[in-house]
């Protein structure tokens, strides 16, 4: 079987100034993961590596660079799934770690559960020796700027870029800021 890796960097808003960086980031992630597959590594290791690369890249809404919630905080979700066994692990609303995808894999491999959330996920991370990071280190100037711009209802002037010109105003209003 010829190994294959495919990655995406999200279907949300990407401004022109971030176009080159986001395109470069997915290529770097794909190539890093492909090297694992070339060396006989597993698909599971490859997808984890690809996602770690993008979590560490502030261009993307995951890990460092995550969008902020209404309180200006970072809450992250992640999942990993193994097609051989249908095993899966996930975390939700997790804080203060750099790579939620690694914690998801630990949930899959070290617990009887499929998903750990919030404080429970943090407790598990600590028990597994996953290093804590300062929440501020996950925030970027870009994520803070977008948070401020979107505090006021109807204050996002660039949303139409996200949906395209053919979408109605009512559709935009219904779906304002709902791209994860």
């Amino acid at each position: 079987m010829l190994p294959v890796i495919v990655v995406h960097g999200g279907a949300g808003l990407v401004g022109a100034e971030r176009l080159e960086g986001s395109c470069r980031g997915v290529q770097e992630a794909a190539l890093a993961a492909y090297r694992i597959l070339q060396q006989g590594g597993s698909a599971l290791d490859a997808v984890e590596e690809a996602v770690v690369k993008m979590e560490d890249n502030p261009m993307y809404n995951a890990g460092c660079g995550s969008v902020l919630n209404e309180l200006g905080e970072v809450e992250m979700d992640a999942i990993i799934m193994d097609g051989k066994t249908l095993a899966s692990g996930a975390v939700s609303a997790v804080r203060g770690i750099a790579n939620p995808i690694k914690l998801s894999r630990l949930v899959m491999e070290k617990t009887q559960h499929l998903c750990l959330t919030a404080e429970g996920a943090s407790r598990f991370a600590k028990a597994m020796g996953v290093p804590e990071v300062e929440e501020e280190s996950l925030k970027t100037d870009y994520s803070r700027k977008r948070w401020v711009e979107n505090l006021a209802p109807g204050s996002n002037p660039v949303e139409s870029q996200m949906y395209g010109k053919s979408v109605s105003v009512s559709f935009l209003n219904q779906n304002r800021g709902k791209m994860g």
Binding site: A11, Q27, L37, A43, L68, M81, D82
Partner: protein, 134 residues
């Protein structure tokens, strides 16, 4: 949101997805990402998928499991992805994208948003794109 799907030399597939969620979401909001069949799905019999987009819409149609269901019924990854994304768009007005690989190593990156950065490597060849049709 970021995601990856892969098939290795043993024919095993896997999927992974990670996100900060939705801009200015309510504290405590959990989207599609950590939900099996929504934020990811992988089954060696059919393939693997990872999505991005409107989380609540992706959950309503269990997007990744829907794509694998279509592939189980004989659709190609491209047809399965397009059919599921169109269903999500018309049925629950959800916009998004997916990457898919099947158990034969055929892959696709499809989206109903204007843009989605993606990249793929197969047979030592790098493919990438950003806009529809690339």
């Amino acid at each position: 949101t970021v995601g990856a799907v892969a098939i290795d030399s043993q024919g095993n597939v896997a999927s992974a997805t990670s996100t900060g969620g939705m801009l200015n979401k309510m504290a405590g909001r959990v989207g599609d990402t950590p939900c099996v069949g929504c934020g990811a799905y992988a089954d060696n019999l059919f393939g693997a998928a990872s999505p991005t987009g409107h989380g609540e819409a992706i959950m309503k149609v269990t997007l990744c499991r829907l794509i694998l269901f279509h592939m189980e019924q004989g659709m190609s990854p491209e047809k399965a992805a397009d059919t599921a994304l169109e269903y999500m768009k018309t049925r629950v007005q959800g916009i998004g994208g997916v990457i898919v690989v099947n158990s034969s190593g055929d892959w696709v990156a499809r989206f109903t948003s204007e843009k989605m950065p993606w990249a793929a490597v197969k047979n030592d060849q790098l493919h990438y794109g950003f806009y529809k049709g690339e």
